[in-house]
Amino acid sequence: MEKVIIIRYSELHLKGKNRGWFERVFAVNMEKSLKGTKHEIHRHSGRYLIENFNEKDIQLICDKLKKVFGIHSYSVALKVSTDMDEIFKAAKEVSFKDGSFKVETHRADKSFPLNSMQISAEIGGRLLDINEKLKVDVHNPQFIINIDLRENGTALVFNEFFKGAGGMPVGTSGKGLLLISGGIDSPVAGHMIAKRGMVLEGIHFHSYPYTNMQAKEKVIELAKTLSVYTCGMNLHIVSVTHIQEEIHKKCNGDYMVTLLRRFMMRIAEQVAEKCGAQCLITGESLAQVASQTVEGMTSSNSVIKNLPVLRPLCGFDKDEIIERSRAIGTYDISIQPYEDCCTVFLPKHPVTRPKLADVLAEEAKLDVDKLLNEAMATLEIIKI
């Protein structure tokens, strides 16, 4: 009896003529995720089977699959021939030692002499014969033995469904550029968008020498953690030191964050165009901090020329974001105490509801194009 893993996918069945393409991307992503572990992936009507792996790797493979978007659920199953004795042996194997159960059968192979109900009854009866501690309960069973008869003369027998990461395969929804700060929010925002099938690239702004190398390293660590879900990632790193110094020198200090965010958005849009990203993604959550008011967003959004800006966390509370960041494994990295560029030159009383006219008046004191070009010249790309 060979162990296999059954992979069921989420919404791919909703797709029409594109379905083949979706399925191919999905398979490639699974291959990437399982790279380095012996296995074979085969597609069988509406699901994938992972076969020919070493049994000791089963936990490792399942852990990796949990991070592949597009998987709705998966099961570890025994693969046997469609011989009733063989199926019974497998059912015996996956059965609990005691408790109530039922047998559910799917019969894709309609040429099989027994129908689904008859197979379930036969296998269930035989199990009861050999184990007195089992009893049948079709309404509220403690476990279910699933029997899946495939067209190719094999049967899959299993007793559990594990929840997958859900979503769409990464690579089926275009490419986005994530503004990643080193805080808790932005990796969560990236994760949510990647879950809907988007390939991510990251952009990080630093203010060396006002901030240190550890802050940058922290962002690289965050990107690494995120890249497991996104099948790799490029991280673009840009220095905004001189921009902050110029704002500090020439503008009203209370507008530091407001003005800086406008520069960040402009730089991000330029980088996005360079790397082929079709949207920007930020970790902004409405009203979380001074700059994340709707007025603040209006101010930073108004510099964007073409791209949509996705802000998936807008409706989340901080504790909801923290919960997600723990689940994806970025929380412990995010809380390391290294400052990102936002806290240097931080005003005591930042403007919380900036009026666009005032912002523009402050910004007029700066040579915006020159500062942008200088910042773009510091661009460094790290392949994660």
Binding site: P209, Y210, N212, Q214, E245, K249, P337, V344
Partner: protein, 375 residues
């Protein structure tokens, strides 16, 4: 590259490492082995122990337990010395003591912190007022690792013993050993030393303890180090430590004079318009704490680094505003703006006057430029 962060660690002394090399590749045996090669190493360790210990203490009254470094020795002193009542220490301790006593507090021991004088030395009077009949341990840093202030631990220990003769007295001597002249006396029960601050390698240190003092082990296992610190001895590191200690103590005075000269030159050359010197005149010359008013220390550190000068800050970087400043520097009564600009320059006898002159020049230029930008 000019390296002036010697209080963090010193460049290993090549001749000490070379001399100890044979303990890596030839004499690699376990000193607990009963065969001759093992036994010989046991004797080598004994010699190293004696040679290091006798630089600062009488071997009839003191013994030395090798540890993985200063932090472990400090932890052993705290957790094995402060087992009941209250523990008195200073606000100027290294984190190895500070964090350890905070853990002790979690375990139900009362911790009392003595205030500092403006130069970072402990306020003796305040410290003594905290000692009572229930004090099980007093720990006072010998040379403050941020300001270089020297505490007169011998006078303090004597007064502590006069108040409560059962109180154990510990001192963290990591920045004193091999740098300033002193001899331990009977009022000192426990004393921490470290190898890599005097040109040996990292991962090695020791806790000197009075011979008749009974303390519990901190690590349990095979019973090495008189049962007080189990774990196979790092013979190579210990021998490096021995050679470095012998070397440093053979020219202690000469080094002291040289480093004092470097320190004085640095003080003279730093622009007094830009920098405030926090270390007092009679601090250890090996450490010079300065502050650039209005410019963050870490920013200067990075820029100096980019210009080929390595120095330290007095502050640990943290986005938590309360933690951004060094707790030690704040305890000296320094305001937050000054504390934000604290830098630590620390010398070794290997540094030269030319290096110091160049370093002062770099620092003056950086801070003048930053002030212009930040103004």
């Amino acid at each position: 590259m000019i390296y002036l962060d010697n209080a963090a660690t010193e460049k290993p002394d090549k001749k000490c490492i070379t001399a100890a090399e044979k303990y890596l590749f030839e004499e690699y045996f376990n000193p607990s082995g009963l065969y001759k090669s093992g036994y010989n190493l046991h004797l080598e360790l004994k010699e190293a122990r004696r040679n290091i210990l006798t630089r600062i203490a009488d071997e009839n009254n003191f013994s030395l337990v090798f540890t993985s470094g200063g932090t472990e020795a400090d932890n052993q002193a705290v957790f094995c010395g402060g087992r009941r009542g209250n523990v008195v220490t200073t606000s100027g301790e290294h984190s190895a003591i500070f964090s350890a006593v905070n853990e002790l507090k979690q375990r139900g021991i009362e911790i009392r912190f003595a205030n500092l004088n403006s130069d970072g030395s402990v306020n003796e009077e305040h410290l003594l007022s905290l000692v009572d009949e229930k004090t099980s341990l007093v720990s006072v840093i010998h040379v403050n690792n941020e300001t270089g202030a020297i505490n007169d631990i011998f006078s303090i220990a004597q007064k502590v013993k006069e108040k409560n003769k059962y109180t154990l007295f510990h001192s963290d001597g990591v920045q004193a050993f091999g740098k300033i002249a002193f001899k331990l006396n009977n009022n000192i029960d426990l004393y921490t030393i470290n190898a890599h601050k005097i040109g040996a390698i990292k991962g090695c240190g020791g806790l000197i303890k009075k011979k008749n003092l009974q303390i519990k082990p901190y690590l349990y296992g095979g019973g090495q180090e008189q049962g007080l610190r189990s774990g196979t001895e790092n013979v190579f590191a210990v021998k490096c430590f021995e050679f470095a200690a012998l070397d440093r103590y053979s020219k202690l005075e000469e080094n002291y004079k040289k480093v004092s000269e470097l320190n004085k030159t640095m003080r003279k050359l730093l622009d007094s318009e830009l920098f405030t010197v926090l270390s007092s005149e009679n601090a250890s010359p090996y450490i010079l704490s300065i502050a650039a008013k209005g410019v963050r220390g870490e920013t200067i550190l990075h820029e100096a680094d980019d210009n080929g000068l390595i120095i330290g800050t007095g502050s640990a970087c943290s986005s938590n505003q309360k933690k951004r400043y060094s707790r030690v520097v704040l305890s000296c009564g320094v305001d937050e703006i000054t504390a934000d600009g604290v830098l630590r320059i620390s010398f070794s006898p290997e540094n030269t006057l030319e290096e110091v002159k160049a370093a002062a020049d770099i620092l003056n230029k950086i801070v003048a430029n930053r002030k212009r930008i930040m103004a």
